[in-house]
């Protein structure tokens, strides 16, 4: 049953990766990468039970934190960069 969940999560991650490659705008790519990261956290948590290794959950916690902070950081960066280009363009 864990294997079914892990396979489904892998399929969803492939779909998110395809959207990250295809995505027409920047925000589509950021959304896809965020979705990929949260699914990675879930996949690590499921792999913990699948492989019977209890130390994977710590990695999942760290990955969730890094994912959130990196998304917020990338959003801040592009918001600021676009405002700067608008100011310079005028």
């Amino acid at each position: 049953m864990f294997a079914v969940t892990a396979l489904t999560l892998l399929v969803v991650m492939a779909l998110a990766l395809a959207r990250a490659f295809l995505g027409p705008t920047l925000y589509d790519r950021i959304l896809a990468v965020n979705n990929f990261g949260t699914k990675t956290v879930l996949l690590i948590a499921v792999m913990d039970f699948l492989a019977g290794r209890p130390d994977f959950l710590d990695i999942a916690i760290v990955y969730a934190l890094i994912n959130f902070i990196s998304i917020i950081g990338v959003l801040r960066f592009f918001e600021y960069a676009q405002q700067k280009t608008v100011e310079h363009g005028e």
Binding site: V4, T5, A16, R19, P24, Y27, F49, L57, I61, A64
Partner: protein, 117 residues
Amino acid sequence: MIELLLDILSWVLLLSGSFFCLTGGIGLMRFPEFFSRIHAASLTDTLGASLILMGLMLQAGITITLAKLIMILILSLIAGTTASHAMAKAALKSGMCPLDQVDRSQQPEIKAYKDKS
């Protein structure tokens, strides 16, 4: 008897969580523009992650694993919703608007976005 019941309940939770995650992935791939995509991804992300983690919690028993899973659940609930909100707000600030309102406004950035997607 009670263990079998817990197993069945956790299988149901894991499978329904996988179903919602898959729905979100398909929605992320198939929807026409950013705001419908963020709707599909973030809503199913919250529900699917909660269901899968609850299914894992039922398998864990009362151990340190349960505490870590609860920590991941709280973290993903807070972080996922905040990240989605920040993304939608940044997209709105950058001049995108939802597809059903594109025709009403004639701003050049929105036109460019419509042409791109």
